[in-house]
Symmetry: C2
């Protein structure tokens, strides 16, 4: 395993490698957990060589968000990636990615207006822009993204299609702790009490999935169930519970055959998200 | 020479070609003139194979601009490109480039606010976006742009740098008619009388260059000369005469060692632009 820190070296490696090998890629912000490692395993399955990037992207954090405190542990990350037989860790610093005079943005209009985009202004511009940069640097044939960040996934799929980026986007299901909490680097912010309360999110999802299986299709009824469960304990502040079209992310009143349930809330100071695709074959 | 109309075929050709050859690229909107052909020759000099795209990009036209009437003559263009030993003409239709559901834009902030960007709202978003798409489709090693569209050139250079696109941008000097008029597909709009009046643009540029050589560095004095010349005949409406920093495009009061003179005006209904870099070694 090799650690590459400059764009020039990464591009040269990838350009050479592309001639004969299929490059699998997993972009991350580090502080890796089993969710990330599942993506790496998927990338290894789909590619001949695997590149993982670790970059905490300032452009996707709002001014009142947790850029400064976002957890980082490169040595541990590198050990985990070594075990997964990662070929390259691309590990640039902020100056390398956003040198002085930087000014270009990519905006995926429409999709960014819903769900997390409503409160996290500019977040998805930051995500789309850094992913485009990383694709141009790593030149992957295939890139794997977690379904846990569902809106991010849809925005990247759209950007790749719209801008004719020659890379295949593969979605990987959310990986959960034994008790159901969706894995996230931000779970580390939770104290013991908050950690318990955070389980209400998955409890809501399971309850709504059960209602859906019983035939309930009305969004209001489904959402009410989540509000009931999430509201059952103090210290869980709902940002949104959304039932929406799984492709356009527009709110629906009633699910036809397929919809997205997406939840964002704050447990203490920690913002957590989770989701589930509601389909007939659930 | 081959004409390719689909993105998929173009990408496959380029991906294969990149392994062994250097790809030179010239993006155009067609209706080719000697200016374009000079870019093609330059691309041939810098690459082993040459791709020229012909696509009148709706995204870069404003609602009251000349998209519908923009001159087109594919057969003539193809003959000219054949003579220049072009390998591939990439000739997609609008549906291929912007299928239903298209929504992504690229914005190079800052640079787009000056010169033509002031009146042509969204124009440079359209330019940056289509050029990024074409780069992802054609995968060139080197792309050649005319200096006549100076702001476009600077915006593309900035986008390529910011988004880490692995393509070299080469600028080529403005090609002029025998009497000095900068070549442009839009010159075809001019009637005989307008064609004569259009010469005032280059006359202004030459006069300002002469003043600059004599040591004049004050922007106001230089601009006054252009207003005097362009205003000497009715039917020439000045949109701007700008003396600005050649990199940031910000207006300057006085040129230090290097500046850009840029002019846009309407002659009758036709909008024409021209420019000159004012440097000590002019």
């Amino acid at each position: 395993m090799k650690v590459i820190k400059t764009i020039q070296e990464m591009q040269a490696w990838s350009e050479e490698m592309r001639r004969t090998k299929r490059i699998g890629f997993v972009p991350t912000m580090g502080y890796l957990h089993e969710g990330h490692l599942s993506l790496v395993r998927k990338a290894r399955e789909l590619g001949d060589v695997v590149v993982v990037s670790i970059f905490v992207n300032p452009m996707q954090f709002g001014p009142r968000e947790d850029l400064a405190t976002y957890p980082r542990d490169f040595i541990r990350d590198a050990e985990l990636l070594e075990k997964e037989k990662t070929d390259i860790i691309f590990y640039p610093d902020t100056q390398e990615m956003y040198p002085q005079g930087y000014t270009t943005i990519i905006q995926v209009k429409g999709l960014e207006n819903y769900l997390c985009g409503k409160t996290r202004t500019g977040h998805f511009i930051g995500v789309a822009t850094v992913v485009a940069k990383l694709f141009n640097i790593v030149k992957p044939h295939v890139a794997v993204f977690g379904q846990k960040d569902y809106q991010q996934l849809k925005i990247i799929e759209r950007m790749v299609k719209d801008l004719n980026m020659d890379v295949e986007i593969v979605a990987y299901p959310t990986v959960r702790e034994a008790d159901g909490l969706a894995m996230s680097s931000r779970n580390t912010y939770l104290n013991q009490e908050e950690r318990k309360k955070a389980l209400l999110i998955y409890a809501s999802i399971r309850a709504i999935e059960a209602l859906f299986k019983q035939g309930e299709r009305r969004a209001a009824t489904l959402k009410e169930k989540a509000h009931e469960i999430l509201g059952s304990q103090p210290g869980v502040d709902i940002e949104y519970v959304s039932i929406c079209d799984a492709e356009t992310l527009e709110e629906v009143d009633e699910i036809d055959t397929r919809g997205l349930l997406a939840i964002a809330c704050r447990v203490g100071e920690t913002r957590l998200i989770d989701n589930s695709i509601l389909t007939e074959d659930l």
